[in-house]
Symmetry: C2
Subunit: 310 residues, 2 copies
């Protein structure tokens, strides 16, 4: 076995025992920031140091969505460093939540659980199924790829939409973003998985909602700004779509008294698709994989591309 110096990695500034364990388990050494070859950052963007030691070659962020890190200029200030996000680390949990939200919508679960009286004759004519339906996953990255086999297991087909349009495994067909107009009318339901960028702001507005089927549910587990909330409320009020199930909202947190809290065809969960209780262990697995790649000089998972915005 050839002798090699193991890289030193700073983990902080917040205490993160699962990440420390992941770094050590992957074969690296924990060091102070001043001696670090890489940083596994666990803390807010505001606390990130303005100056980095020259030895730092890689920074791992703890989030899947890094728009604040890009807009704040922190990433741009350190162009010689490789930045990676946690995109993909939380895909399974978020996909599981998306499946739950879509099933709950189609089967009218929240209206049933809100009842305090047995009303079989009402619901037995209104509960639907995902079997045989076609679900469009708009922004089909790690979460979408994790969701496709779950949808297949309940008998639903997937149409994927990605930036490039390169075929996504398991999808019936993949469209490029600029072909998106063809997708809305074909889909029985829509799941939004796109990152928040200037190109995806209000990706779903009044014109897109108008193209959806009147029975379509739209699920958003990505970022609230992908949907024009005003247009969505109007579509829900007029029942022009089946419903919306949102784990992310715009504004977020959704203020008390907002119409989305009480519309019968809206389902709100408070940004828990990737809950903190699961995230620590999922992030640790992701960090472990990336430290192993870093030591082996292999490409890192989830590199951030400032041009693309994620």
């Amino acid at each position: 076995m050839s002798e090699m110096k193991m890289p030193g990695i700073y983990v902080g500034p917040q205490s993160a025992p699962a990440l420390v364990e992941a770094v050590i388990g992957a074969g690296a050494t924990i060091v102070e920031l001043t001696e670090a070859d890489a940083i596994v950052w666990k803390g807010p963007v505001e606390e990130f140091p303005a100056e980095l030691p020259a030895s730092v070659r890689w920074v791992q962020l703890p989030l899947a969505g890094v728009e604040q890190w890009l807009s704040s200029g922190v990433i741009a200030a350190h162009p010689d460093v490789v930045w990676t996000s946690a995109a993909g680390a939380y895909s399974h949990s978020v996909a599981e939540h998306a499946l739950l939200l879509l099933l709950a919508g189609v089967r009218l679960l929240p209206r049933q659980t809100a009842a305090t009286s047995w009303d079989h004759s009402h619901f037995t004519w209104r509960v639907g199924t995902l079997r045989g339906s076609t679900v469009a996953i708009v922004g089909c990255g790690g979460i979408g790829r994790a969701l496709i086999p779950m949808l297949a297991a309940v008998g639903a087909k997937t149409i994927a939409v990605t930036r490039s349009g390169s075929p996504v495994p398991g999808a019936e067909r993949t469209y490029a973003t600029d072909e998106l107009d063809e997708v809305w009318g074909q889909a029985d339901h829509v799941v939004l998985g796109a990152p928040a960028t200037s190109h995806t702001q209000h990706l779903v507005g009044a014109p897109e909602l108008a193209k959806l089927k009147s029975t379509a549910w739209i699920v958003n587990i990505a970022r609230g700004g992908l949907i024009d909330t005003g247009a969505l409320v109007e579509a829900l009020r007029t029942n022009s779509i089946g419903g919306a199930a949102l784990d992310v909202t715009d504004p977020e947190p959704l203020p008390d008294g907002h119409p989305l809290w009480t519309l019968p065809n809206a389902i709100i969960t408070p940004h828990v698709a990737n809950p903190d209780v699961l995230a620590a262990s999922e992030l640790a697995v992701h960090v472990s994989r990336n430290v192993i790649n870093f030591i082996a000089n292999k490409p890192l998972l989830a590199p951030i591309d400032p041009q693309l915005g994620y």
Copy 2:
């Protein structure tokens, strides 16, 4: 092609155009009861004729659970006729509902959808996942077999329990009913799929609930009588299990004011796992398959065994 007389099948007494279409599509002829070789019964047990024409060799019932047909003596009164149920016909929809109920329980969906205020900090430490969990399907027939690949897609393993204990495809391990005591403590969650018979009444009572993990959800999409409701309410009140998600109850319909309506760890849906809106087309597919088998002299799907009680 050899000449053969197509069997005549009576469909009724209620109007059932989808079943008539299924029978004709499968190659048989629609006839009056007096001339029938077989009966596709669409109606209540009380209206079934006391005497059958001697020509009748097969009766297809419209239900998956036939305990009323057995207890009323109607089936026993015609021992020379082959009786088939609709067991399996609705398996997909019921399995999809079971998946939804289990996910909704583990991820606390009803408590989130009941909220009218954003409470991320509460739920982000309480939302769980099915990934990595072990689900016991007690009574693993058609519904259980449809559920196993759905659970696998979200990363959960299955332990099956069947009468015989013969290995169920896709299950980690299959136990026979008389080994059931070994199962409760191993399972992270339990789905009940057993038929209602004298052997399965109160299959889950206080002793069984006491063996479940304190985080375990129990899902019942089969028959209410499988669970001792009083013991369940006590387990839910003391949080000795995670929760219960019930599409069937005992008594059923669940009366107004029953504690299960308001316990925060109980989820009630009013027997809609197999909703009427989907059932007609699913039953038609089942009937079509059985008519094809009947014409070809092949074994029929879902034969009823009065000894077994289903």
